[in-house]
């Protein structure tokens, strides 16, 4: 059983280049309360404040919120990349985070070499790495491009490779940022099929997106993040209904209707 539990988690980024007192005051005044001081009176940006979320197997959570609300930071914190300054996180299950398309790939290395590194990171043996190569190659449809350095790829190709890699090694908890939408329509359908299979396998999906219809289609729970805090938490209909202007909400509902899984 996979689960992820955040208790009263706060994350703040230290700012080191704004040491002068007067500059501090200006910045604090300008940043409408998101900037504060820590115990040692250093200037920090409070990216997340007192977030508590509990997810269990089968949950498909979507994050919505304005730019800079803290969605990506929250995903990174759930992934364990940023360790919170307050609160605690307990995770059961293998976590995979697809936060940016490059996701730590070395762009000078070829696609195959990057796949190999990912396999080693997941402690696979040689036979399993070979299987990973085949799986990623067939799913991403990159074929002979896998022999070329990743820097020669288009952004769509990088997305394909990143998505294929992240989902080939079966994650129990998948954390995903909105860049998945960079794929072309055909690939999006394929990615959706794969995610559906994965989620049907009773795992956890956490998705951050600006696209209301993607959230409507994929998620069974939505959290609205505003100013680093949870503003609303509930079913997609409830939260999106409050978050979106009425006309956009109606359009998203329409778009989500033909549920061709």
């Amino acid at each position: 059983m996979a689960s992820i539990k955040l208790q009263n988690v706060s994350v703040s980024f230290p700012i080191y280049h704004a040491e002068s007192r007067s500059l501090k005051r200006t910045v604090i005044a300008a940043a409408s309360g998101r900037v504060g001081e820590d115990r040692r009176h250093r200037l920090v940006v409070e990216a997340l404040r007192h977030i508590s979320v509990s997810l269990k197997t089968g949950d498909r959570l979507g994050f919505v919120g304005a730019n800079g609300a803290g969605k990506t930071t929250l995903l990174r914190t759930m992934a364990g990349i940023y360790e919170p300054v307050e609160g605690q996180i307990e995770t059961h299950g293998a976590v995979t985070a697809l936060l940016d398309p490059g996701q730590g790939m070395n762009h000078e290395l070829t696609g195959r070499e990057n796949i190999r590194l990912r396999g080693l990171f997941n402690a696979l043996n040689q036979a399993q790495i070979d299987q990973l190569q085949d799986d990623v190659a067939s799913f991403s449809e990159l074929a002979q491009f896998l022999e070329l350095p990743v820097r020669t790829y288009s952004s769509g190709m990088i997305v394909r490779l990143g998505f294929a890699l992240a989902t080939a090694i079966k994650p129990q908890i998948l954390l995903m940022d909105e860049w998945i939408l960079a794929g072309d329509a055909g690939f999006l359908q394929k990615a959706r099929n794969r995610l559906e299979t994965m989620v049907r396998g009773a795992e956890i999906l956490v998705l951050s997106s600006h696209s209301a219809d993607i959230i409507m289609k994929w998620c069974n729970r939505v959290i609205w993040i505003d100013g680093g805090q949870i503003k609303a938490d509930g079913s997609p209909d409830e939260v999106l209904g409050a978050y979106l202007p009425a006309d956009q909400f109606a359009r998203a509902q329409m778009a989500a209707l033909p549920t061709s899984a």
């Binding site: 990174r76 919170p84 307990e90 936060l99 129990q172 299979t197």
Partner: protein, 299 residues
């Protein structure tokens, strides 16, 4: 790690599953005990990912020479050119016998090259891997280990030059050469600690890399690297104390150099080397335990 294979339709369903029951518990706080546990876990994970560290290091070197005809052989070649040209020049300038000077110089230059590269690249342990650190959770000490392994591989290429010089000049290592094994072990531990320490400091304070590089430049000239320690033998005691007895670089160089060159070795040199190593390791341990949670914010 439990890794199981599942045969599902390729392209439709994920085929490989990762570690089955991974549990992570991250708790904020300043207490030493949980921080130490986390730091230990970090080191343990790096150890268990040694195949990844190795692959990353090999790729680093391959990338540096991708497309070049000679490839990593350039490492050996450029060192050989350096040793040969400096060797002939300085043996004339210092008026010393090339038969004893060249083996000394080849050893010194190769070992110093290792130290100098390690400090320069150690400063970038974390800042150079910003993309990787921000993309997924992985042990942070892995990035320091990668710098060490990469530089040990480069050292391996350069050792060829030393062996060649020793064969040509007919230098025979003395019977104390078994001490090379503990010496190399000490070098490895120190190298890892140094990369962690510099990596952390340089991630937090961006002014450290130029400071380190200028210190290393001075250290190169004031330490007996290209000049033999025998030069100082009949000089004032004070100078010899500062430049040799208390010089950590001299101690570390000479625990390798002395047995290979057959020069008499003082046991105190090992004491100094171990003393500085313990100091370095202690400092690094404390710093790593305290700052590990913050590194991701700093890079």
């Amino acid at each position: 790690m439990n890794v199981t294979l599942k045969s599902e339709v390729p392209g439709e369903a994920p085929g490989l599953s990762g570690p089955a029951n991974s549990l992570a518990f991250i708790s904020a706080g300043q207490a030493w005990a949980p921080l130490t546990v986390m730091a230990k876990a970090d080191l343990r994970q790096t150890l268990s990912l040694w195949r990844l560290v190795w692959a990353l290091s090999v790729f680093d070197i391959k990338l540096r020479y991708r497309g070049s005809v000679l490839g990593p052989f350039w490492l050996t070649l450029s060192t050989a050119v350096m040793v040969a040209s400096l060797g002939f020049l300085y043996s004339k300038l210092f008026a010393t016998d090339i038969k004893t000077y060249l083996p000394f110089l080849s050893l010194s230059l190769v070992l110093w090259g290792f130290i100098a590269n390690l400090t320069t690249e150690g400063c970038l342990s974390f800042t150079a891997q910003e993309a990787m650190i921000r993309a997924m959770r992985m042990p942070l000490s892995l990035h320091a280990a990668r710098v060490v392994v990469r530089n040990v591989l480069i050292l391996g290429h350069n050792i060829v030059v030393i062996v060649a010089v020793f064969v040509i000049m007919g230098t025979v290592p003395d019977q104390l050469s078994f001490l090379l094994v503990p010496a190399f072990g000490l070098w490895l531990v120190d190298a890892f600690a140094l990369c962690l320490l510099l990596g952390i400091l340089c991630a937090r304070y961006r002014d450290i890399p130029p400071i380190v590089s200028s210190i290393m430049q001075v250290a190169f000239f004031v330490s007996p690297v290209i000049w033999s320690p025998t030069v100082l033998a009949h000089r004032g005691l004070g100078l010899s104390l500062v430049l040799m007895q208390w010089n950590p670089f001299y101690a570390l160089l000479d625990i390798v150099r002395a047995p290979l060159l057959g020069t008499p070795m003082n046991a105190s040199i090992w004491a100094v080397a171990i003393f500085y190593s313990i100091l370095l390791i202690l400092l690094t341990t404390i710093l790593f335990i305290r700052t590990r949670p913050q590194i991701a914010y700093w890079v």
